[in-house]
């Protein structure tokens, strides 16, 4: 069985990426689709395409896009209302990695960040620890010490603001989901007899 060596695989990936960017520039979406199909079976290529798409988006100069998942939840609720279980408190917890990812996406959209801070941020992206309940300018130095990455004061202030924004966004989503659940419950109570399944034994 032919098993390409890692160098060969990487070479093929680079060729695929070249085809992808070339197809994007020409508006050849069939060409894009061919590379995306390759990525279905290649996690590394899939990951690289996500990053490349982010870079291509940054090139457009379009304004910041709201990346909250609130809209996605609205869509899913609309089209698959039965597909959700109740949301546990853990699902709304913000982790260190979540905040770092948000800062990274802001950096890709052009928000300046020092090279050393960018490196520190990359390290924190893997960190799944939940954030402390309070992050204030006074508690920041403690947090920095716990996380054990070296970064500037400016970075930690950006980190604090991003953490607050993420928490607020998730809290508002949690509240709107709860409201949607309550509304659904109320609507079920109002179903008219004609819409109901006939009880067993009746035709």
């Amino acid at each position: 069985m032919y098993n390409p060596d890692p160098d060969e695989k990487q070479y093929q990936r680079e060729l695929a990426i070249e085809r992808y960017i070339s197809a994007y520039d020409r508006g050849d979406w069939q060409g894009l689709a061919e590379v995306v199909k390759q990525a279905l079976h290649d996690p590394e290529l899939d990951r690289l395409l996500v990053e490349i798409n982010a870079a291509l988006y940054a090139e457009t100069g379009l304004p910041l896009m709201d990346e909250s998942t609130e809209q996605v939840y609205v869509l899913l609720r609309q089209h698959l209302p039965s597909g959700f279980t109740f949301e546990t408190p853990e699902e709304s917890l913000v982790t260190v990695g979540d905040v770092a990812e948000r800062l990274e996406s802001e950096r890709l959209r052009g928000k300046p960040i020092l090279a050393g801070d960018a490196q520190a941020n990359q390290q924190l992206m893997q960190d799944k620890r939940p954030l402390p309940s309070r992050i204030t300018p006074d508690t920041l130095p403690n947090l920095a010490q716990q996380l054990r990455v070296v970064a500037s004061e400016r970075y930690w202030e950006l980190f604090r603001r991003a953490a607050l924004a993420l928490r607020m966004s998730r809290e508002s989503r949690r509240v709107s989901l709860a409201a949607a659940r309550r509304q659904r419950g109320q609507r079920r109570g109002r179903v008219t007899p004609s819409k109901q399944e006939p009880p067993e034994g009746r035709e």
Partner: protein, 196 residues
Amino acid sequence: MGAQQEQDSDKPTIDKHSLLCDLLVQELPRLRKSVAARIWKQDLARDPAAVSELTDEVLQEVTVRALANVNRYDPRLRGHAWLDLFALNILHEQRRRIYQERQIGIATDTLSTPSIDGLGENPVEQLSDRGGFDKVQVQELLDLARPADREFLHARYVLGLTPEEIAVQSGLNMGAVYVRLSRARSRLREELSKLD
């Protein structure tokens, strides 16, 4: 027994629904960027608000189609790529519609991807070859490049740094490095063709 069988046959569908919901929550926000960039690049919408609106429409349709095809969803495949294929189909349909409305021909639909595999006759294509290339020839080629492009091409093809290493050095992410390298090669190709 009948009820048990019914319950068992429901299990895989419910699991797939649940997995697909998780996938959509995770990937749709990331897919927004690629959809918006394609819309902008192809001039399907001409201002940021219109891009955002069309992006939302496309993602809504991606959600509908993905859920309608839940039985075809294979969790072993890369989810982002799976959803992106829906997005590309939908964008293709949107492009037809919009171009027809603007009464522009869709010549680009039949473009085939040029081959960039292996060695080409164009020296720039040889930069993509991982095999031995003459460093003096590469340097001569790079002299044609713009200064900003030269820096990246030099790092890649003279110093032999990987895109990952270039990303660390430059502070850019990997995706941005690949795009920069690709653009640099494209521009170099154009410069070379002017000499012919």
